[in-house]
């Protein structure tokens, strides 16, 4: 397997992790969020800063990143208490933009646009996993573990309550559930998983800066992965992420580098999202049981 293929499969794994995280937020909790890339950045920068400047072990830095992401997600969900879906959507956009600005301008912390170079390989229990076969296995093992956890979550009482809150808040409230607590937990879980993906990405690239992809474009792309796959469906989110990562790189392999242009992707994704909403609200793999109004 050549290094390009290794790279694509590893990157796909990383984005599958992000998609699973967003799936918990969008698919299970019904909170539409277009700011998820902020958590990707938090994980990446936490890893970069803590391993290089504080000398922490990579796994510890990863956990620290998760902690920061969780706290921030909890804070974000606070604003969601009194606010409806469409407001919340724009708020998540604002949240994402805020972090992009911080990544870009807080030079002493993040290196700003000059970035942080020299991030070492991922390491756990004393064994290193440099970019290549090793990291690929680590990433996909993580995917399996996280996916299994989410499947268990979906079937657990907590998961069912979460879906109930998503589908009919009033009913859920009348049965004694606190929507805020459920949404907040979902957002924290999503942020956590995405932060892990960010940490791994930092180890893979060994250099990150504010241009690496922690902004609105990436958030929209991940959102599209989850929605096109079918909201409320975990296999859908995984397939969506894998397809959207593989497609441009496979086109590159067979000789159409410019066909991978972002704008073509965007137009196609945008139109498909519009069409799907009208004609197939359940996405490609939909398992949602929304009742129409």
């Amino acid at each position: 397997m050549d290094i390009h293929l290794l790279d694509v499969i590893t990157t796909a794994g990383i984005f599958v992790l992000v998609a699973i995280g967003l799936h918990v937020v969008v698919g299970l909790a019904g909170v539409l969020s277009v700011g998820q890339a902020a958590f990707l950045g938090i994980g990446a920068y936490a890893t970069a800063i803590l391993t290089l400047r504080a000398g922490l072990a990579p796994f510890t830095a990863l956990l620290a990143g998760c902690a920061v992401a969780s706290i921030l997600a909890a804070l974000l969900s606070l604003t969601a208490i009194r606010v409806r879906d469409d407001y919340l959507l724009i708020l998540t956009l604002g949240f994402g933009e805020c972090f992009r600005l911080v990544f870009q301008n807080w030079e002493t912390l993040t290196g700003g646009t000059r970035g942080i170079a020299g991030i070492g390989p991922f390491e756990i229990f004393g064994k290193q996993f440099p970019d290549g076969h090793g990291l690929l296995i680590v990433v996909w093992l993580a995917v399996i573990v996280v996916a299994a956890a989410v499947v268990c979550l979906e079937r657990s009482p907590f998961g069912r309550a979460l879906i109930a809150v998503r589908d009919d808040e009033t009913l859920a409230r009348s049965l004694g559930r606190t929507p805020f607590a459920y949404r907040a937990s979902a957002m924290v879980c999503g942020a956590l998983v995405t932060s892990v993906a960010g940490s791994v990405l930092a180890h893979k690239l060994s250099y990150i800066d504010s241009n690496t992809g922690f902004g609105f474009e990436t958030s929209l792309l991940v959102f599209a992965m989850v929605v096109l796959g079918g909201r409320g469906s975990l296999p859908g989110a995984v397939s969506g992420a894998t397809a959207l990562v593989f497609l441009p790189e496979m086109l590159r392999r067979v000789g159409f580098p410019e066909a991978t242009a972002a704008y073509l992707r965007q137009i196609i994704i945008g139109v498909v999202l519009i069409a799907l909403s009208s004609y197939r609200p359940r996405g490609v793999f939909g398992t949602l049981r929304f009742e129409p109004r």
Partner: protein
């Protein structure tokens, strides 16, 4: 003193643009009870139509502005009919997803047609710059303020006193009752969408003429204008206009005295504060709903 005044003047100039775009969010929310996530990108479309009309079509400022406003109005109607209207009866999240799709597609299309670079349109200023206690108000900003002010006055008067305005307000207040008394709510909504898009387009044109345009300009512009419409009380047109200017001034004062690197973040901070503390805004209409 001159510095403070300069910041305030800069703020009013950009605030006028925020005001126009905020009116769009507020109008659409009023009749549809829905925040059009893609409104900022519609404004971007208007700005690009202006660019194409003045560069390619060689129209003067006034001509290109009219073309942009009318074309964007039509575009807005089309958008409503294709992307939002079919979803009236769908699940509560479907229109939002559609709006996100619209946003993505519009940005991609703009890059495809015009390329991703930032462009500028050279509009010669008709008025001379004036100097107020050491702060400069460039001629072009004066024009922007005049255009915005006149549009604002016309809009508010229309809404308050014309039949059309009363019909729109009726649908905004209580759609079923309005329909019961014979109003064709659907037609009015289409008209409001067109108007919101046109007004937003004028705002976009102001940005293009005075600053720059790029396919991604709609994102931050939309966010800040949305902040203004929240602060002004969502659904309140006068509130949106006033709040737009307020946001512009606040942003410039903060950027001026606290640091210009995070200029865009100040408006976002305002949004967060308001959504946490007072989501109904400063000038909420009398019958304020839980948002």
């Amino acid at each position: 003193m001159a510095l403070l005044l300069q910041f305030i003047l800069n703020g009013i100039a950009i605030g006028a643009v925020y005001a126009l775009v905020a009116v769009g969010y507020t109008l659409i929310y009023g009749v549809m009870k829905f925040i059009n996530f893609a409104h900022g990108d519609v404004v971007m479309v208007g700005a690009f139509i202006f660019y194409a009309a003045s560069k390619g079509g060689h129209l003067g400022f006034a001509g290109a502005l009219m073309v942009a406003a009318i074309a964007t109005a039509l575009f807005g109607m089309l958008l409503y009919l294709l992307a939002y209207r079919p979803l009236r009866r769908a699940t509560r999240l479907a229109p939002l997803i559609s709006a996100i799709g619209v946003s993505i597609a519009l940005r991609g299309a703009a890059v495809w047609i015009f390329g991703p670079e930032i462009r500028s349109v050279h509009v010669p200023a008709v008025f001379p710059s004036i100097n107020i206690f050491g702060a400069v108000l460039p001629g072009r900003e004066i024009e922007i303020l005049l255009i915005t002010a006149s549009m604002a006055i016309v809009l508010v008067l229309l809404l308050r006193h014309s039949t059309l305005g009363i019909c729109v307000r009726a649908v905004a207040d209580d759609r079923e009752a309005a329909e019961a008394s014979g109003l064709r709510a659907e037609l009015l909504i289409v008209a409001v969408f067109a108007a919101a898009s046109a007004i937003g387009a004028v705002g976009g044109v102001m940005v293009a003429a005075s600053y720059d345009l790029s396919p991604s300009m709609g994102t931050l512009l939309g966010l800040k204008a949305f902040t203004a419409s929240v602060i002004g009380g969502i659904g309140n047109v006068t509130g949106a206009l006033v709040a737009g200017v307020m946001v512009g001034v606040f942003e410039n004062l903060a950027a001026g005295y606290l640091g210009s690197a995070y200029k865009d973040a100040w408006a976002l901070a305002l949004l967060a504060v308001f959504l946490l503390a007072k989501p109904t805004g400063l000038f909420a209409p009398a019958a304020s709903r839980k948002v």
